[in-house]
Amino acid sequence: MTAVTAGTAESTGAPGGSDAAVAAEQAAYEAVFDAAVAADERIEPRDWMPEAYRASLVRQIAQHAHSEIIGMQPEANWITRAPSLRRKAILMAKVQDEAGHGLYLYSAAETLGTSRDELLDKLHSGRQKYSSIFNYPTLTWADVGAIGWLVDGAAITNQVPLCRCSYGPYARAMVRVCKEESFHQRQGYEALLALSRGTEAQHAMAQDAVDRWWWPSLMMFGPPDAESTHTAQAMAWKIKRHSNDELRQRFVDIAVPQAEALGLTLPDPDLRWNEERGHYDFGPIDWTEFWDVLKGNGPCNDQRLSKRRQAHEDGAWVREAAAAYAEKHTGTHGEAQA
């Protein structure tokens, strides 16, 4: 029995076979893949998969992983200035979770034949993106609350359906992530509630944070369906289960009553219940802002990337020391313990 079998990129060609034989083999593999997706079965790392499916997953999972670790920065900004020890401990745990989410996702991406270093390289050189929401600054403590409630809330809305993604390792990573996210959202909501019910100045601070984070949170779902280049194919492959606009609507419907309970308003004069649709109508989103931030012109793009690169470079000596130590002790640390 060997670990090398059909299904890896290298072994799908038929060496020495005619073009027709290769094409027939390819078609057979494709039929198996299509049937598995149609039957709602999961695709696993060593299964044959279309190259475009693999590339699309790498792109999406990498962007997701990058978002988790870049997303640590805006909140970490407030750890030293959290208003109480309780809030500080919570915030540290939350930021640590985001690092963990990044690692689950990098692992999932690696099962597709890419390496972590390659992905980090692409992040550092700007060739792969992260969610543009993290290019906005956290100006006050209330922003930590607003991020937990709205940004993690939007992320959860996006991620829950990804637990049923057709690619097994991504789906499993999402199950772990979603379990951890609900604390993120609740701690943010609780922090905002405390401010909203506090002094007049605290209430105003909470309102200001919500005013600034609301629209960027709606943009997290990506461009409208009509302009989304990847959505249709990703849905056909069951990587995505719902369109951007569907998920955005779901999030708005959930958030409006939550805002009411907070005693805060959402900065949209067009926001109202539509009896006929059974959903909240909301105003137009400023997509020029979205594309502008995505292109690198947001308030914090440069800061986020340079801080990431710096952290990576500053950690080089730790990686080197650990590797040197491992090499020196080769053979003495190889046993796992039950």
Binding site: A3, A6, G7, P45, D117, A322, A336
Partner: protein, 95 residues
């Protein structure tokens, strides 16, 4: 030296005594000891485990990914290995 030089480890976690270790995920680490520490931080932040195994990914030998692999065929035609294969008169108890 980058983390590429760090091998990949598969992590197995026993969630509580009496249960088997189950695969939780993977991670990179320079050696087994660091792999265990990283696994604790990554996979048991909420007391999900009472014991962790880390195994170098390269040490795992796997069967073919195809579920219809002939490798598993010997099991497919032996329904008599299942208790439901047998007909027992109604009313017979504890069988």
């Amino acid at each position: 030296m980058t983390s590429d030089g760090w091998p990949l480890w598969e992590v197995f976690v026993r969630s509580r005594r009496g249960l088997s270790h189950t695969h939780a995920g993977s991670l990179h680490a320079p050696d087994a000891e660091m792999a265990l520490r990283n696994a604790r931080d990554l996979y048991t932040r909420r007391s999900e485990g009472v014991s962790i195994w880390v195994v170098p990914s390269t040490a795992i030998t796997a069967s073919s990914p195809d579920e219809k692999d002939p490798f598993f065929e010997p099991a497919a035609d032996k329904p008599y290995r299942h208790p439901t294969f047998y007909e027992i008169p109604e009313g017979v108890k504890h069988l």
